[in-house]
């Protein structure tokens, strides 16, 4: 039998090559489906470990007294025996002697392998030390060869600084100066408060520690788990690893990181199969079609064997043996290729390949069995008799999809529930592809009756032949899965990028250590046109986070609503009152009268008259309060002060303040303001914060010594703010900033928005310069940042630094996108997209194989014999496959839409909870391009086959 199979294989090697290739591809895809999530999960785990703090990725335990020190030593000894851990033992004594500050004289085992020697060598004997390069730079007189005397440092009172003990001193020799080769290396252990405080670590040998008289020695053991152990995210594995419970207990943060890794691993490993498995199903279906097609061609042979009464087992082997043998060889080879090409794929990928091999063998065996069950007489017919069959596949697929949907609806996102979207897509595609041909059959008849032979035959071939119906279902399914994944990828990408835009606010964010005024001035200097930079800061008002932005540069922000919000928050108004250097005179009409001070004043004390101050905003954006001469007198009087020289470049009169001491009552009104006698403003528009009233009252009830302010016309009564809808329909109606004194500068909700970039759902936006003016600089935003647009010049940071900004950190959109692209949903979707593309390519291969076999089909040969022209038949077959391709893609898009509407929630679209909900539907453009791409690919592919066929005179 084997010899016969080999003969058949050799004779029909070209035909069987397609089956072998398909099996190879299926094996590779199955292996990839298993290897990829593992590789992705490993990559995610690596990222998580890299970004985790040291206390989350290693265990550390310290002790300084006899009991705890002994425990540390015991743990160190026990840990050394564990193969999954690297043990680092250290002992340290605080010492004085290296300059005025305390240092830690430390023995850290195997330290020489982890430092770079700037000069000298490693300590080799007692009394030898190597000092950090930083200490040498800070402390004069320390270099290689220096001899110093050390004494233990003690701190009996935590409130007092460290001091030298009186236990005696020990001489040491500096033999080397070092730098840590890689300060972030796990070897250096968990950063302690001493590390954070920059206490120098002087490395030495244990003998040196012993030679130094001391009372307290801190022993530390660090157990660094092997990366593979951490990457599993399995905390139980740590517990099972025989690591001492004491050190586990002393490092509780490790569990948090492992839990995060485990959650991400589970996500990837659960979600990736959601499309890979249906695509594998699709591939097995394609295998069924190929094997079935092969068997149809071999049907006469199967028939004659049945006629001769050949035992079923023999017939089965003859019918399915070659395909089975090819599957047995090609599928594991595909799996092996992926396993070898994917680092860390492990045995799971080969197991997956072997599992799918079993499925393939079952498909082949059952396909053959379907034919072998026929009577010899039927097998020997030219055309198989047709009969109505129960649509078992369709019923099975719909049942499974229904179960998945029900499970998903019950809230169970595991098993079939997680596959719900792809199952529904497949089920709808299969069901519609089953029903549509039935509906189109009459059209075939009509076309033939009207004399349209080619299109009539094409419709008949597409709708009546089992292979036509199967191909339509296959195209529909592949297109449905592809469209579904393209849609998910599009929505996921949009959501990720939107989230990045919202959390960052701009293409680049520079964290600066400057006052808001300095930052505003520096940015205006570096970017005078406001083209690429703006300044932001954070405020807290009535418990709500407020983003203060220089909205005159709103275009810099990556926020679609920025322009509209800026327009709403910066309405045009009166021009600011500009004053230059000179004598500022404020003419005030005071209708006040003195009132007796309640109670007796102490001897020599008196209640001073109320005084007025002018507040100017200097060119640099700082606010300065200037004391106008003389106390308030009844009647109209000028109150004057000389403006600071900085105002030569122009200052803005930011307001007036009044300081009363309870000795008067009455009203004040601004009449005019002059500089060196030149009028610069009248009294119109001046108002107290939050009101339009220009009346400025003095009242004994005013808090004595607390200023009250009068604001110029260019400052609105309420500071316009944009507010998120989560704060209420009308926004926060009573929010206000505090000024110095008892007054408050209220916020006036102006425009609603869904989200405030960089802050979130419950937040407000105000114009930063307006906020500073409304509060006369008394409100100080924190977290000052400079946001840069994508068009910022390459040397933007240098320009800003030159303008006086101290940049202490940066965040860029590109980095955020790169990080987001490595999140579990993004990586999962990438694999799913790959699987969907593989599904389409498999489909193309099957379509090509099936269509290329059409020239040998008995139906077409019969039609040719019946007198149909070869050209008409060629056109009919071309139309058939074009029709199958187009209809299949359309059905696929519809099926994907149904699946999206029904089970969008189980698709791996978002990581966590985005600030804005993902779009309800994907953008039409990528879907249209994807669907059109599949259709064109299939139509062109089959067309090329027929071009080749015509050259080969296939249907002549």
């Amino acid at each position: 039998m084997i010899a016969l199979l080999m003969l058949a294989l050799r004779e029909r090697r070209r035909a069987y090559a397609a089956i072998a290739l398909l099996c190879f591809a299926i094996g590779a895809l199955a292996a990839l489906g298993a290897a990829y999530p593992r590789a992705v999960a490993d990559g995610i785990a690596d990222d998580e470990i890299k970004t985790a703090a040291a206390n989350e990725r290693m265990f550390q335990m310290s002790g300084s007294d006899d009991t705890s020190g002994a425990a540390v030593l015991a743990v160190a000894e026990a840990t050394r025996r564990l193969p999954d851990y690297t043990t680092v033992y250290a002992a340290g004594v605080s010492v004085m002697g290296f300059g005025a500050e305390r240092s830690v004289l430390t023995y850290r085992e195997n330290a020489c392998a982890h430092v770079r020697l700037v000069s000298g060598r490693c300590p080799m004997g007692s009394g030898e030390v190597m000092v950090p390069a930083g200490l040498v730079q800070q402390t004069r007189g320390i270099e290689v060869g220096t001899r110093l005397f050390l004494v233990e440092a003690i701190k009996p009172d935590p409130k007092n600084p460290w001091m030298a003990s009186n236990r005696g001193r020990a001489p040491i020799d500096v033999v080397g100066v070092y730098q840590q080769s890689n300060p972030g290396e796990d070897y250096w252990g968990v950063r302690t408060s001493e590390d954070a405080a920059g206490v120098p670590v002087v490395l030495t040998r244990p003998e040196t520690l012993n030679s130094l008289p001391h009372e307290t020695e801190v022993l530390t053991v660090t157990a660094i788990p092997a990366r593979p152990l951490l990457k599993t995210g399995d905390y139980d594995a740590i517990l099972r690893s025989k690591l001492d419970p004491n050190i586990i207990k002393s490092s509780p943060d490790v569990k948090g990181m492992l839990d995060r890794i485990a959650a991400k691993r589970k996500y990837v490993e659960t979600m990736t199969p959601a499309v890979v498995q249906p695509v594998l199903g699709l591939a097995c279906w394609a295998l069924f079609l190929l094997v079935s097609g092969r068997l149809q061609r071999d049907r006469p042979e199967v028939g004659i064997q049945s006629l001769r009464g050949l035992p079923l087992a023999h017939r089965w082997v003859l019918a399915a043996g070659v395909s089975g043998l090819l599957a047995l060889v090609a599928t594991p080879l595909g799996g092996l290729a992926v396993t070898l090409a994917t680092p860390g794929a492990g045995g799971s990928s080969m197991s997956a390949a072997l599992i799918i091999l079993a499925v393939e063998l079952a498909v082949i065996a059952l396909t053959a069995l379907g034919l072998l069950r026929l009577r010899p007489l039927d097998l020997l017919r030219r055309v198989l008799p047709t009969g109505s069959k129960v649509p078992l596949i369709e019923i099975a697929v719909l049942t499974v999809a229904g179960a998945g949907f029900a499970q998903m609806k019950s809230g169970d996102r595991s098993g079939l529930g997680i596959l719900a979207a792809s199952l529904i897509a497949v089920a709808v595609a299969v069901a519609v592809a089953r029903v549509l041909p039935l509906a189109l059959r009459p059209a075939a008849r009509r076309q033939l009756h009207r004399g349209r032979i080619a299109s009539g035959i094409a419709l008949a071939l597409a709708t009546r032949r089992p292979s036509g119906r199967h191909l339509l279902a296959l195209v529909s399914t592949a297109a449905a899965l592809f469209t579904l994944v393209v849609g998910a990828t599009d929505v996921s990408s949009t959501t990720r990028h939107t989230q990045i835009d919202l959390t960052l606010g701009a293409d680049r964010v520079l964290m600066v250590q400057s006052s808001p005024a300095q930052a505003l001035a520096a940015v205006r200097q570096a970017d005078p046109d406001g083209a690429w930079a703006t300044v932001t800061g954070r405020l807290a008002v009535s418990g709500t986070d407020v983003l203060a932005v220089d909205l005159s540069r709103a275009a810099v922000m990556r926020w679609p609503e920025a322009t509209a919000v800026a327009a709403a928050l910066k309405p045009g108004g009166p021009a600011p009152i500009e004053v230059s250097a000179g004598k500022l005179e404020v003419f005030i009409d005071a209708t006040v009268q003195a009132i007796p001070v309640q109670g007796e004043l102490p001897p020599g004390a008196y209640a001073p008259k109320a005084r007025v101050f002018a507040v100017v905003e200097l060119p640099g954006g700082e606010f300065q309060e200037l004391d106008l001469d003389n106390g308030i007198e009844p009647g109209v009087h000028p109150y004057a002060v000389t403006l600071p020289p900085a105002c030569a470049e122009g200052c803005r009169l930011a307001g007036l303040s009044l300081l009363a001491f309870g000795a008067e009552r009455g009203n004040l009104a601004i009449q005019r303001i002059t500089v060196d006698g030149r009028p610069v403003a009248d009294g119109k528009g001046w108002h107290t914060p939050g009101t339009d009233a220009g009346q400025w009252s003095i009242d004994p009830a005013m808090t004595i010594g607390q200023p009250t302010y009068l604001l110029p016309p260019d400052v609105p009564a309420g500071l316009p703010a944009a507010y998120t809808r989560d704060l209420g329909d009308k926004g926060p109606t009573s929010a206000s900033f505090s000024l110095r004194g008892y007054q408050r500068a209220p916020i006036k909700p102006a425009v609603a928005t869904d989200i405030v970039p960089r802050v979130g759902h419950k937040a407000m936006v105000v114009d930063l310069p307006s906020a500073l003016r409304a509060t006369l600089g008394s409100t100080t935003p924190s977290k000052i940042e400079v946001w840069l647009s994508a068009g910022a010049p390459a040397d933007a940071q240098r320009k800003l630094t030159d303008a006086g900004l101290a940049i202490v950190g940066t965040e860029s959109r590109a980095d955020a996108v790169a990080r987001a692209d490595r999140t579990p949903p993004a990586l999962t979707l990438r694999m799913q997209l790959g699987a969907a593309v593989a599904g389409v390519l498999l489909l193309l291969g099957v379509l090509l194989v099936v269509s290329s076999g059409d020239r040998r089909t008995t139906e077409l040969a019969g039609l040719r014999q019946a007198g149909v022209r070869a050209a008409t038949l060629r056109r009919a077959t071309r139309i058939t496959y074009a029709m199958i391709s187009l209809l299949g893609v359309l059905i696929g898009v519809v099926a994907a839409a149904v699946a999206w509407a029904a089970a969008q929630s189980v698709l791996p679209i978002v990581d966590g909870t985005p600030w804005l909900p993902p779009p309800s539907w994907p953008s039409p453009l990528p879907l249209a391009v994807g669907a059109a791409g599949i259709a064109v690919l299939l139509i062109v592919g089959t067309h090329l086959i027929f071009v080749g066929d015509r050259r080969g005179r296939g249907l002549e």
Partner: protein, 280 residues
């Protein structure tokens, strides 16, 4: 029953009706036929007369709609599919029209014969001949390694016969073995059939349009309109009385006695029968 003994065939009032979408078609309408063990019979008749249906019934490929078909001791209508399958693998050999349809094109003649013996090989008590010996029997000695496409048309047909008799059947059913063959090829095939019959005693039933084949086989059964219309034995033609007492007149006689013709039957004392056309 010896493994080489020919099988007797008996058809009693066999009716075969094909059921189709456009209505039922009566293919055989009461065939009575007896073939003795070791006999060689040619079934002739026009296309659509029911020859192939009759052979399909004899081979167990169809079950009779009515009547009884017996091959040897086997009532073909009562056997299960499995038993019929076993019978075709051991006792009934079938050779389809067109030599290529009977052979695996990629396998050698030896392998083809060997494969056709598998059912018999798995059935205890049957001694199988070496495939080379079977090929020798049909006049293809030493051709075991030859493949189908390497043979001349006549040799191909004989190779098909070799496959048909691979399991040493008692009944060999052959459909149009000489169509599209030249005279030489036809003679070789007929010789092979005669050899098979002579050496093994195999009952041979051949469907053919070729009158010469019938003459060579000795007995010719003409199937007409689903019935046995006539028989020729050793060159002499006979009408056959069917089980229901009807007799089919030969076409040339039928022209003289159109349907509806009335006649009387006179029995003479010498045993002869005379039909006397009556006048109304």
């Amino acid at each position: 029953m010896s493994e080489h003994a020919g099988l007797a065939v008996a058809c009693r009032r066999v009716v075969q009706i094909y059921r189709g979408e456009g209505g039922d078609v009566v293919a055989l309408s009461g065939v009575d036929l007896t073939i003795s063990p070791g006999e060689m019979v040619a079934l002739v008749g026009p296309s659509g007369s029911g020859k192939s249906t009759l052979v399909a019934l004899l081979g167990g490929l169809l079950r009779p709609s009515a009547g009884r078909v017996t091959v040897g001791t086997y009532d073909m209508g009562r056997l299960s599919d499995r038993e019929i399958s076993r019978l075709r693998g051991t006792r009934i050999g079938i050779v389809l029209q067109g030599a290529a349809r009977n052979l695996l094109p990629y396998a050698s003649l030896y392998r083809n014969v060997w494969l056709a013996q598998r059912r018999a090989a798995s059935t205890s008590g049957i001694a199988l001949e070496d495939p080379e010996r079977v090929l020798d029997l049909v006049g293809l000695p030493g051709q075991g390694k030859t493949r189908l496409h390497e043979l001349a048309p006549g040799a191909r047909q004989r190779a098909a016969l070799a496959v048909g008799i691979a399991a040493s059947p008692g009944l060999l059913l052959v459909d149009e073995p000489t169509s599209q063959l030249d005279t030489g090829g036809r003679d070789e095939v007929i010789s092979a059939l005669e050899t098979i019959n002579a050496e093994r005693g195999t009952t041979v039933v051949v469907v053919t349009h070729d009158g010469d084949v019938g003459t060579r086989l000795g007995r010719v059964v003409t199937i007409r309109d689903g019935r046995v219309g006539a028989e020729g034995r050793n060159g002499q033609d006979f009408a056959v009385v069917a089980g229901d007492g009807t007799v089919q007149l030969p076409p040339e006689v039928l022209e003289e006695f159109p349907p509806g013709t009335l006649f009387t039957i006179d029995h003479a004392e010498d045993g002869s029968v005379t039909l006397v056309v009556g006048s109304s």
